[in-house]
């Protein structure tokens, strides 16, 4: 069973529908026991980092998520929350991936939010990115982003480089929205579903 953490964010329905299109049923839940027992866990989220952490804390899920051993995929804000902290509202977050999420700087020709379809520069032999090349585009919509570091398996550039896909042990995160990235996004979700438990 796949659990989608009910963090109260806004794109939860889209993630569930995307999994349904792949023939996978999921359970939207905030129940620690169900989340711990799930084969895989998705941490979605649209909204702000302070709101996201507040919701996880209110539901007693901070330690639950930190302690998960099965494959976990953070999407958008869910990915940002994997870092140590966010500049957005000066929010301490889950601390699974080192680094601090910061606001993307705007400049002439570079509008923020970073909104639209962009390409990735990825590390070879990343199972999550199997089947993609440098021309594959994914849909991004965000104003804050995590830094590129040792746990970045793919970066993206919008004025400045930032972490597009991160991985540490069983935890992965994507800044873009696979559920809204057409066939490429569906493939990424499939790759996640095929990661060994």
């Amino acid at each position: 069973m796949l659990a989608i953490v009910d963090s109260g964010g806004a794109n939860i329905a889209s993630v569930r529908f995307a999994l349904e299109r792949l023939g996978v049923q999921s359970e939207l839940t905030a129940d620690p026991a169900i989340i711990r027992a799930a084969e895989r866990v998705i941490l979605p989220g649209v909204g702000s980092a302070p709101e996201g952490m507040k919701r996880l804390q209110a539901k007693g899920l901070v330690e639950v998520v930190r302690g998960l051993q099965q494959p976990v995929l953070g999407i958008c804000l869910g990915m940002q929350l994997l870092f140590e902290a966010s500049e957005e509202g000066n929010t301490p977050s889950l601390g699974i991936i080192p680094g601090r999420v910061a606001l993307l700087p705007e400049s002439p020709g570079i509008t923020v939010p970073h909104m639209g379809w962009n390409t990735l520069t990825s590390r070879p032999d990343t199972p999550l990115l199997e089947g993609f090349d440098a021309t594959t585009r994914f849909y991004f919509v965000h104003s804050f982003a995590g830094p590129v570091n040792a746990f970045t398996v793919a970066s993206c550039e919008h004025g400045t480089p930032f972490a597009a896909v991160v991985q540490r042990g069983n935890f992965s995160g994507v800044q873009f929205h696979p559920e809204r990235s057409g066939p490429a996004g569906a493939q990424l979700l499939k790759n996640f579903l095929e990661m060994p438990v």
Partner: protein, 255 residues
Amino acid sequence: MLARRIIPCLDVRDGRVVKGVQFRNHVDMGDIIELAQRYRDEGADELVFYDITASSDGRTVSTEWVTRVAKVIDIPFCVAGGIRSLDDARKLLHSGADKISLNSPAIENPELLGHLAAEFGSQCVVVGIDSRAENGDYLVKQFTGDPTKTRGTRWRTVDWAREAQKLGAGEIVLNCMNQDGERKGYDLAQLKLVRAVLTIPLVASGGAGAPEHFRDVFRDAGVDAALAASVFHSGAIPIPKLKQYLATEGVIVRP
């Protein structure tokens, strides 16, 4: 590099897609889901659904068809029409919409933009501006879905765009009403003016009639996305051909 976006706009009335000229005389263009799927298959980068009479009728977009769209569509979509409160927005976002667009209600209650941005993030808060050239200036209009209810506002377009950004909008869609349905090209002068005062993405709307118009609006007005309706609905400009053309003209697009 980030690709410029091509966005078909589906004007919705009574659950059907319609199209009028200069916001008038609406004709039926087909079923919402069928058209949405067609555009997804053709390579549209995003879809916008405007419930064009919701605001003037005093209602909100129906979550029923928003859910139906969200189930079948795997590209982002935005919905607009009579969104007046955090609650309206929450229902639509929870139904699967990626963004919500506010027009008249944002003018009536600008603080709402700040509340929406704080709750959901500014990336899903779009402000649609209906703008008309009058007396050598560009002015914001309201309730444009129904010509008998359309009226002026206290805002100059440039000032309202700047204010909306300050309050929390994450994107502006500028509908240039003089051009709408005329197919003579986007209003490059007006779009350039508004582009210059914004740091958030700007979407051009109104006037697309030929592939060159898309090239011009990306190259000369520097917009992030171009929205069009009738040229896509009628098949006059197939999206795959448009994207091929733009790529040969040096515009970065998603193939």
